[in-house]
Symmetry: C2
Subunit: 465 residues, 2 copies
């Protein structure tokens, strides 16, 4: 059959399987489905389907598999790497119809959800049950848990609770040929053969479609102690982190670094008041969440006093209320406003071994400024997790892309044994740089797995590899 | 070539590659290499090789692959599922030659080790560096980290620090054909494509040979607060755990349950003094490690007081010193002595969703006693992680195997959606029951992965699948 007839046949079959209300074609596909939060532009999709349950997802995959049709799974489309933008002629598979919180088992500390559940809804449901789901990122009101799992999302509190991977007990996945793979484990301990769910966490929709999940919940949190501190350099910050983790028995829930360029930018471009004068090389936001923030206060203060005595700190301000904790966070979250004021910029999400972060940042800054003298740069990040963010640009008011800036940064990251993607994934955006962080034998194994699990290459084609 | 010539050729090639001191044949293979801590009996191996570095392991695998020779990797051989016992005619590949701690990076909180490092040596090295490697199990002085990773070992403090998987940042693996797969990641955050190390963690030597690892270290621990408590039933224990996790902000490092049958057995068979009278249905050992155990004491005591007021506790004793903490643990560790006194027994390592543990234990006990009236049973386990252990036997002084006891237990576990192996793995011992905990499509995927990564089927043949 020719391609056009094949499309007609697939569309007819999809409509029969899903009903016409769950299928949109051509110009009826909403604009929002054509892109994600990155600046990547994909192709023109053939159809957008919105199955309402796992069986319907399986039916879509069986049909697309039979017709050799490319499928692009979409969650909340808040990814920054282009992993959810349409491939040319693809069937967009929206998971937003699987948006049920199916069960909360507070005694076991778990929640069963559909892949289309919005993260914030999950956070709120956990809170209502006296527990917490600690995954948290800026897109919380938009992103879906299926997308969080497919990209192994990170966020602000990885240092204490881990990546999304660490918050998933079980998964249900639909494979390329429509087979349903149930792995809805509910136990923290289950060594009955290899744990297959890890084949799909972080696979960015290239190996299977995540339809449901069993999430691990943590104890409820009553509040936080937090401090904004200034230190002499990155080495002092690393020593402070180690001191704090020891003194607080591993309870540091965030350790966000802001280099001087970032701190000055957020003060001058967002109108924030400066809790500490902007003369120090590096600033850190240290947070410790807990059931009883007031009860935890003495140990938090003692930790800071000991740090002062050990000359790890140049200056520090302790939040006196939950509102002040939020004010400290707004310094860190001010990056959103900086980004919109400075656009166009190039934004980096990289990681290097923690002990080398200071040298790496210095080397990147020096390399960029020597080649691009007018370039603005700001460095910040979840440094406690080895994660650095860099916003570069604009240069003299023009778009900084295509100037070799990415190559300069990623080549330095490579020499530091770092990762070109700490938390955003590869998608389309970082494909050219993947080989900087993965060896040829790792890439060969990734390609082998892809061929093995998706021999027709229909799942999110062109992404990652 | 015929089989005998083929063996001679392989042995000659192995000797050339490794040197004769690292190769043992026939009767020169020490007795200890023929079994592990399980009662599984394997076949007669052809050779035992002890490569001294990754290149030598790769050379062994290239040769065995070329000669289609089965390879059984061996660590400390302390596994309880028969995963390391010889296959007939196999080359035993001991990792004990890769026993170097290569590097401790205290600032980044990581350690680089060879697969043959003894767990206790790693624990001690972390302690010396002011940090901790929290994986801990009874075999600590014997087991090797490569075996811990290959079996995704659990142990006593999973509730706080996770399984071995959660303590591994990076891995180096040699594949079936001798390809070295370097994945020695050092960053907590690295989303540059799928995290391939999870294909090997818990694979029990069937998909690759683990040669080196980057381990995650936790802050150092100064001591622990602990209490032994008595509760009315499992539901009360589950409520107590939830209360404690909330009050201690997730810092519970152990929550070990002992049902009355276990508690009475350990008192009467090991001569322990009873900290609490043996009349209660269920006992729990609650522990909270921390940097400053004395400083943590008030919050720990307040947690217990609140539990009394909420009528979650029938009785409780708080450890007044680190020595008393150890005494409480010796009640739990007394199982080793019970096992040797009661032998022959059947020992179970299962998990079920936490909320269902109480009913499941009651159902298993009732089913066993109705069919086997003389059978002794004791129930205990890492219940905070959903893990139950059961020791059944002897019956009237005779070996309880072959009496259908396993079938009875595993059939109940299946109806509860549980796992036939919480932490020990499948090996040989649990192969007959794997399908009770994994669906047909999961088993198909496991077989597909095995064919894909080890098409000749030479890696630990006959284990797991």
């Amino acid at each position: 059959m020719n391609i056009e007839n094949s499309s007609v046949g697939l569309i007819t079959a999809l409509e029969r399987a899903l009903g016409s209300t769950n299928l949109k074609l051509g110009r009826d596909i909403p604009e929002v489905a054509l892109r994600d939060w990155s600046d990547e532009r994909g192709g023109t999709p053939m159809a957008l389907v919105t199955p309402r349950d796992t069986q319907a997802v399986a039916a879509v995959m069986r049909l697309c598999h039979a017709y050799d049709a490319p499928v692009v799974p979409q969650g909340g489309r808040s990814g920054l790497a282009g992993g959810a933008v349409p491939s040319e002629g693809a069937v967009l598979l929206s998971l937003s119809g699987l948006d049920q919180i199916e069960e909360i088992d507070a005694a076991s500390g778990l929640m069963v959800v559909g892949a289309g559940c919005i993260l914030q809804k999950i956070q709120e449901a956990a809170f209502e049950a006296g527990l917490s789901f600690p995954l948290d990122l800026g897109a919380r009101g938009t992103c879906q848990i299926g997308g969080n799992i497919a990209t192994n999302a990170g966020g602000n509190r990885v240092i204490r609770y881990g990546m999304t991977r660490d918050l998933v007990l079980g998964l249900e996945v639909v494979l390329a040929d429509g087979t349903i793979l149930p792995m809805m484990n509910r136990m923290p301990k289950n060594n009955a053969a290899l744990d297959l769910k890890h084949l799909f966490i972080g696979s960015e929709g290239t190996l299977g479609i995540i339809t449901r999940a069993v999430l691990k919940l943590h104890p409820g949190v009553g509040g936080a102690n937090a401090a904004l501190v200034a230190v002499a350099d990155f080495a002092a910050a690393a020593n402070l982190l180690r001191h704090a983790q020891r003194a607080l028995s591993g309870r540091v829930t965030a350790f966000e670094l802001m280099w001087n360029d970032y701190y000055r930018a957020v003060l001058s471009e967002t109108g924030h008041r400066a809790p500490i004068a902007p003369e120090h090389p590096v600033y850190a936001l240290i947070e410790m969440q807990g059931a009883d923030a007031d009860g935890d206060r003495p140990v938090f203060e003692a930790m800071l006093e000991a740090a002062f005595e050990a000359e790890l700190l140049a200056d520090a301000v302790i939040a006196q209320s939950q509102r002040e904790v939020e004010n400290f966070w707004s310094l860190r979250d001010g990056v959103a406003e900086i980004l919109s004021r400075r656009a166009p910029t190039i934004n980096f999400d990289v990681s290097v071994p923690l002990v080398r972060i200071g040298d790496c940042v210095d080397e990147i800054r020096a390399a960029l400024l020597s080649t691009y003298p007018g370039l603005k740069t700001i460095f910040f990040g979840h440094a406690g997790d080895s994660n650095i963010h860099l916003v570069a640009g604009p240069i003299d008011g023009v778009d900084p892309t295509g100037h070799g800036i990415e190559k300069t940064v990623y080549e330095i990251i490579r020499t530091y044994g770092g990762s070109v993607s700490a938390e955003h994934g590869i998608g389309l955006h970082k494909k050219p740089w993947l080989s900087y962080s993965r060896s040829e034998s790792e890439l060969a194994m990734l390609r082998q797995l892809k061929r093995n699990l998706d021999p027709k290459g229909i799942l999110n084609p062109g992404k990652v590899l």
